[in-house]
Symmetry: C2
Subunit: 341 residues, 2 copies
DNA sequence: AAATTTCTGATTTACGTACATCAGAAATCG
DNA sequence: CGATTTCTGATGTACGTAAATCAGAAATTT
């Protein structure tokens, strides 16, 4: 049988009440007694039964997800996954709330975060916009002993406890290698479509992409980045323009959202171009385009995994517990026509 | 507040004891009363607090992992992950035991499975060898109301509750597409190294690979499959032979284990061949070969995920609960040099 | 209608932990 | 040394559920 608090009390020669005081870091225990109890805990290998403890405490985890408003498919999916998690709240003792903030708007994000500081909250997950004032606001939350995880996009140099998202530099490099290898030595131009260089994930993807392109595939020339603001119509216009202007384009890398517009432009360009295309985020649109051959590969981060991971990490952090690192690593999925889920 | 058993009793106008009898499917409740209680449960939206129930029951989950003996890296890794899970037993209320059986040996596997039938066990996970007698043994376990999940390799037509592994046909197709695209239109021979055609995962990978090769890359010719029995030395011999015999080989697909030997053979062949190589399973050997360029892509299934998923599914099945399907889907990881974990 | 058999209610104990209260012991202070 | 102050022990209740017991009510059989 697993040792219990009774066993600690017996082993340490103290009462249950004292064991309880030590375990829950309550005052009223002399240093020597405390050490005696702690030794006993180690000796008999006591592990707190978290389920029983939570039951006794009537513990619930009020969690807040701060998500950008916006109508691209990826954020829609993320919202949906958080709502999905809400339906499991009863089982998981969570109480999840979504706070929406305008996208790419640091002051709004800061205001939302600061508003949370005085609430009684077990953790915050946010899609970070990478700005110093956001970092400061996150650090204030951490100072207030509120667990914080960044979601999808990380926050440079902040004290956040965890990042639930992919390694975007690696994602960019991977996209470059796929594109380069798929083009098999052909020479020509590559155009890159991004959402905004204001978010860290997009910047990092570009950085990784450009670096690997330069070192491994010098025969491919990178055109200036197109910024589509994750908007299908803007993206469509930019890409259509580029394709009609430059007949040497043989590859496209879309590292942001708004791929609906990109796909429209690609289909319109049609047979005129023999294009190899790598994009990010699996949505109904990119899935269809992958299947019909308009797109050659989709890099994806699984929003469901990110949300579930964020919740697990926040709960564990709130309890001062560890997590299974390998389980919480968010992997970059590479989808070809053949391994779609 | 979440409704409790007391609320059910009040709502149904019966006593706690009766509610308990209904909830735990104990005899001694008239049909009409039972239906009244069940209606009340639905009406007030009662959800059983599994943690409290397990606490009261003193529930533990004795699980058995039936794993093939053998010294290839992948099975080593799988063993290690199961042992890792054992260290979390206290927290997860599991009691995990590993039963080793000889690899590719249906009778031994059957004997091991049948021995488990009379034990008091909450679930069995096994790496299946695909044979009718094994299927029958699994079905006997299922008949004995013991939850069963297949791990890594599935079992045709059996009643197992779940399969914790990748879609191997899709894996084979994906390998074919990668190899075909990386070869960029070149013409030549492809050699395939398998472990044994007796296990379903290898057969399926080959099937997917061959089908896609035939339909999409007719300029590539598939050589007869080499069976390396997942043994490094045998693999080395077979591949070295093939490479020296056939100078038209431009691609290699290794769909089993024992890649240490393959890598030795590839390095020995050296500059003589310009080879594109896709292999399965990320190990220290394949990782190093990927980084030094000997291998171009590694397809991988995350053994840790498989083990953790199997445990979650077994526990949930034992409790008659559902699982989050998306969470339990084991994904095929594609690793290039650039996205290694 | 009486005798059974089958259901149901009331109550208690338990699981492992948290938390509160109060009395009494030990340490510290003046 | 007595008077405080600080610790510690003993005890009880609670969390939500499981499981057992036993008495009594209801249904069924004779």
């Amino acid at each position: 049988m697993r040792p219990t608090v009774f066993d600690i009390a017996a082993a340490a020669g103290v009462s249950l009440a004292t064991v309880d005081r030590v375990l829950n870091q309550r005052p009223g225990v002399r240093l020597v007694t405390r050490e005696k109890v702690e030794a006993a805990i180690r000796d008999i290998g006591y592990i707190r039964d978290v389920a029983a403890a939570n039951l006794a405490k009537g513990r619930v985890y009020p969690l807040v997800f701060v998500l950008p408003a916006g109508d691209n498919s990826f954020m829609h999916g993320l919202h949906a996954e958080v709502r999905q998690a809400m339906t499991r709240s009863a089982l998981e003792r969570t109480e999840i709330r979504i706070v929406e903030v305008p996208a790419f708007d640091p002051p709004a994000l800061v205001a939302a975060l600061d508003a949370l500081r005085d609430e009684d909250i077990a953790g915050v997950a946010l899609v970070a916009t990478d700005a110093p004032e956001v970092r400061a606001a996150v650090d204030r939350l951490v100072d207030a002993r509120i667990p914080v995880v960044t979601l999808v996009s990380d926050l440079t140099g902040s004290a956040r406890h965890h990042y639930a998202g992919v390694d975007n530099i690696a994602a960019g490099r991977t996209a470059a290698r796929l594109l380069g290898r798929f083009l098999g030595g052909r020479k020509g131009d590559i155009t890159v479509l991004a959402g905004s260089m204001l978010v860290r994930d997009h910047r990092e993807r570009l950085q990784g992409f450009a670096a690997l392109m330069a070192s491994e595939f010098p025969q491919l020339r990178l055109l200036p980045v197109l910024e589509g603001r994750d908007d299908p119509d803007i993206a469509n216009g930019l890409v259509s323009d580029a394709l009609s202007r430059d007949k040497d384009i043989i590859g496209v890398y879309s590292l942001g959202a708004g791929n609906r517009g990109l796909i429209r432009a690609l289909k319109a360009a049609g047979q005129g171009h023999d294009l190899t295309v790598v994009v990010h985020e699996l949505t109904e649109h990119t899935r269809a385009a992958l299947l019909d051959g308009t797109i050659d590969a989709v890099l994806n981060q699984d929003a469901g995994h990110e949300v579930r991971s964020a919740i697990r990490v926040l709960k564990a952090t709130a309890d001062g517990q560890g997590v299974i690192a390998a389980q919480e690593r968010i992997r970059l999925d590479i989808f070809l026509q053949d391994n779609l889920p």
